[in-house]
């Protein structure tokens, strides 16, 4: 390999500019917080772990949304699927199996795969409707959102505690960092999911098909891409990641509720788009979504550290920070893009 070749390999290409810009702004914003709130331990390890932990549910679900959006679709059912999965998990492990049978319900080792499988089926059904009948994804997944939310209430009308000894043990799984902090299971699941997804997006052929379908579906079809597999696949993945997010949320908080996770689909979409993935399909990075998730969390963290904001200033600051972020991001991308040409 020539030296020039090597250089080309390690220097990021033009397509990486948005992601580098995003990362830069993330670092910038974090530094801003760290300086402004130096007396409030802003840059503490605890806060950083919390950033990951607090964003994990959205982050995991957003992996699914990333692929959906890359294929030029949209998935509005995410939030409701999380709620459904989380309620089901809690209900199934906590409640007695049949009236009269005492004690906790099904073993989590059984419940967790079951719920994730149901998520898969739910997502695949949405994908099938979208693909086979050429229905608009927006409407199908909106219906999916209503359906999943309704089912969650049908499973249990209010919040349930996931009362099972195994859940407690799962909660204790963590990688200790130093003597006082540890990475809890949910963060490990988050990081593992992202690692797998980032690698898959690059190295698994069918994932490249997703990019192709998002870039130009008609052409992809003519090039022999199996459109059905891609389209049903991405929504199935959306369902799986939503369900997984719901399951780990239940493990992490020890409870599930049908009324929760309202509006999470938008947060997930926001994380994806902030991470540099275009809603027009075909362009973007899974890793960007992780950055997007962190940015949403960071906005919240800065607001929490302000500590004096009224409810409305909370809203406004969230909007303003979001705006500042995307403005900076597009500025950096623009400048770098121009130089790149």
């Amino acid at each position: 390999m020539s030296g020039k070749d090597l250089l080309r390999r390690v220097t990021p290409g033009r397509e990486h500019i948005p992601i580098i810009a995003t990362l830069a702004v993330l670092v910038l914003m974090f530094s801003f917080g760290a300086i402004r709130h130096a007396d409030r331990n802003f840059a503490s390890l605890y806060n950083i772990i919390s950033l990951f932990r607090g964003g994990a549910v959205i982050g995991i679900a957003a992996i699914g949304s990333t692929f959906v959006i890359l294929s030029k679709g949209i998935d509005l059912s995410v939030g409701a699927v999380i709620a459904l999965a989380s309620t089901m998990t809690a209900k199934l492990v906590a409640e007695e199996i049949a009236p009269g049978v005492a004690g906790p319900g099904l073993h989590p080792a059984l419940v967790l795969p079951l719920v994730v499988f149901l998520g898969l089926a739910f997502g695949a059904a949405q994908g099938a409707l979208i693909h086979w009948f050429a229905l608009p994804p927006f409407l199908v997944t909106l219906a999916g959102m209503f359906l999943a939310r309704g089912l969650a209430f049908a499973v249990h009308p209010q919040s349930v505690t996931a009362d099972h000894p195994m859940i407690g043990r799962l909660q204790d799984i963590a990688i200790p960092l130093g003597d006082r902090f540890d990475l809890p299971l949910i963060v490990l699941v988050l990081l593992a999911s992202f690692a797998i997804a980032v690698l898959a997006a690059r190295f698994v052929p069918v994932c490249r098909d997703v990019y192709a379908v998002g870039g130009d579906e008609a052409s992809a079809r003519l090039m022999g891409v199996n459109i059905a597999r891609v389209k049903i696949g991405v929504y199935a993945l959306g369902g799986v990641m939503g369900a997984l997010a719901g399951v780990v949320a239940t493990i992490d908080t020890g409870a599930g509720s049908p009324a929760e996770y309202v509006g999470y689909e938008l947060d997930a979409i926001a994380a994806v788009v902030i991470g540099g993935t275009l809603l027009t399909g075909g362009t973007g990075f899974v890793f960007g979504t992780l950055l997007g998730m962190l940015i949403l969390g960071l906005i919240r963290l800065i607001i929490d550290n302000e500590g004096t904001l009224s409810s409305w200033w909370t809203n406004i600051s969230a909007g303003v920070l979001l705006f500042l972020f995307i403005a900076l991001q597009s500025l950096l991308t623009g400048v770098a893009g121009k130089r790149g040409k």
């Binding site: 033009r14 397509e15 190295f203 490249r208 990019y211 192709a212 870039g215 130009d216 022999g224």
Partner: protein, 517 residues
């Protein structure tokens, strides 16, 4: 031309009685086609004759209403392009059908990535892509996005993709429509080699030369129906054209002669505009030339020489960084197409799919669009005016549509090109920039467009003409600007315009003093 293939050559593909109807159009009406191993078979016909539709039926994009397809002795009914590919049919479709947002390498390897341990082996993929392109004499960065490359390069990539497979049947639907001669030569040489390896090739094109250079047999379609099949050697050019258009070919010949004559008799004219050092760093330029009223200026050069870029700068589709256009006594540099339109400019782009047609809108909407935007939002053309305009141009350019309300996306390639032309002619411009206007247009229509340019010229409209066919450039231009490596290398005028002169100017080694005509 190669050895004529004997009738005994094994039949690979037999299509018979295929019918395909779209709402309002019977695109195929009992189409018939027989293809043998080891032959290049040309499929000819006017725009909208149903050639592309037949190909799409063959590859499972469309389901036929009736008819049978027999491949290698077995009846097949491919349900998708993927299906067809697995049956051994590899296709280049008429419009570049690749994914613009993917890299060149990915476009070449999609669906057949080299793998290691089940994962994509990128290094290998890049090498394979580079090799596939190199076969066509192309060296470019395969990691760049496809849409960063010109439409001609994209067409080459599509061809490279189709060639990079072990198919028994290769279908090429107008693969050469925006390639220049050296690329065409290389492609034809490759086709020749593949033929000798026993591949059957179905070749659709409107370039007569290429048909006679490479094909063994010809099938002609008219209005979706089979007209004739004959060995190329037994079907003289003039007769072929006659079969295609269904008219006396003599009329065509007379008109062509007329065109030549009218061009030669054109008088000197006063100046309309002068392009002065127009350029953009890293893209093209500086380019300098003069356009007279009613004059046609050709831009000549090889693929990627910067013709399209020059046109885009003139029209404000890209912003020039230096130079200007001197017109009406002012030095202007159009910042947007709107500004250029205000100067009376018009431009048909070479990439009609991405930058030209509005696919889901009707033919009428597409035709009135530019005129309407120059009039502004409030002064809407009345329904009657729109219909008149559309009908007039449909008749004038002989656009084959089922009605003026047909969505442009469903027109045949050549007819889409005519709609674009109509859009700009409707604005009654002073200067029309035509970037590959004859791309994908049949022989009859090419003649029509040439005489149209003449008519325009007679009305005092100036034309900047870009075409991959040098012959065409030579025929219509009073002045030719020659570009090489995105720089102007010279200008030819009047009698000195010959194909040879242009080629030698392009071939000359180092930059000669630029002749500011």
């Amino acid at each position: 031309m190669s050895e004529p293939v004997s009738e005994q050559n094994e039949v690979l593909l037999r299509v018979s009685g295929v019918v395909k109807t779209f709402p309002g159009v019977r695109a195929l009406d009992g189409a018939r086609l027989t293809l043998r191993r080891g032959e290049v078979h040309a499929l000819m016909g006017e725009n909208g004759a149903g050639k592309s539709t037949l190909i799409k039926v063959l590859t499972g994009v469309h389901t036929p209403d009736a008819g049978t397809i027999e491949l290698d002795g077995a009846m097949i009914s491919p349900s998708s392009p993927r299906d067809a590919e697995s049956l051994g049919v590899s296709t280049v479709y008429q419009e570049v059908n690749l994914v613009p947002t993917l890299s060149v390498a990915e476009n070449l390897c999609l669906g057949r990535f080299p793998r290691r341990f089940g994962a994509i082996d990128w290094r290998n993929a890049h090498r394979r892509a580079e090799r596939a392109l190199f076969r066509l004499g192309l060296e470019l960065s395969v990691t760049r996005r496809l849409d960063e490359h010109s439409i001609a390069i994209q067409q080459m990539v599509a061809i490279a993709r189709a060639l990079d497979s072990d198919a028994k049947l290769l279908i090429l639907d107008e693969p050469t429509s925006s390639l220049d001669e050296s690329e065409v030569d290389r492609l034809l040489a490759l086709m020749d080699r593949l033929r000798s390896e026993g591949l059957a090739i179905l070749f659709v094109t409107h370039f007569m030369d290429q048909v006679y250079r490479i094909s063994d047999r010809i099938t002609v379609f008219r209005n979706g129906a089979f007209v004739t099949e004959a060995p190329t050697a037994e079907l003289p050019r003039i007769e072929l054209i006659g079969r295609m258009v269904g008219k006396d070919p003599e009329a065509l010949r007379v008109r062509e002669a007329e065109v030549r004559a009218r061009h030669r008799t054109r008088a000197e004219s006063e100046s309309l505009a002068r392009v002065e050092g127009l350029g953009k760093r890293g893209r093209v330029g500086p380019v300098t030339f003069e356009i007279g009223k009613g004059e046609t200026v050709g831009l000549a050069g090889l693929l990627g020489s910067g013709r399209t870029e020059t046109a885009r700068l003139m029209f404000g589709a890209d912003q020039a960084e230096s130079g200007s256009i001197r017109i009406d006594g002012d030095a202007r540099r159009p910042g947007s197409p709107r500004e250029a339109m205000r100067l009376g400019f018009a431009m048909t782009p070479d990439d009609r799919k991405a930058a030209g047609i509005i696919p889901t809108l009707s033919v009428r909407d597409n035709i009135v669009l530019a005129l309407q935007s120059s009039k502004g939002i409030w002064r809407k053309l009345s329904g009657a005016q729109q219909r008149d305009l559309a009908d007039r141009f449909i008749a004038l350019l002989n656009i084959k549509v089922s009605g003026r309300e047909q969505a442009v996306g469903t027109l045949s390639g050549g007819n889409q090109q005519k709609v674009l032309l109509a859009r700009w002619l409707a604005t009654e411009p002073r200067l029309v920039i035509l970037d590959e206007p004859t791309r994908g247009i049949d022989v009859g229509a090419k003649g029509e467009i040439e005489s149209l340019i003449l008519d325009l010229a007679e009305k005092g409209v100036s034309v900047v003409f870009i075409s991959a066919e040098l012959e065409e450039v030579v025929r219509v231009s009073q002045r030719v600007v020659v570009l090489r490596d995105r720089r102007q290398v010279g200008i030819l005028e009047g009698e000195s315009i010959t194909e040879h002169a242009i080629m030698s100017m392009i071939a000359r080694d180092d930059g000669v003093e630029i002749d500011h005509g």
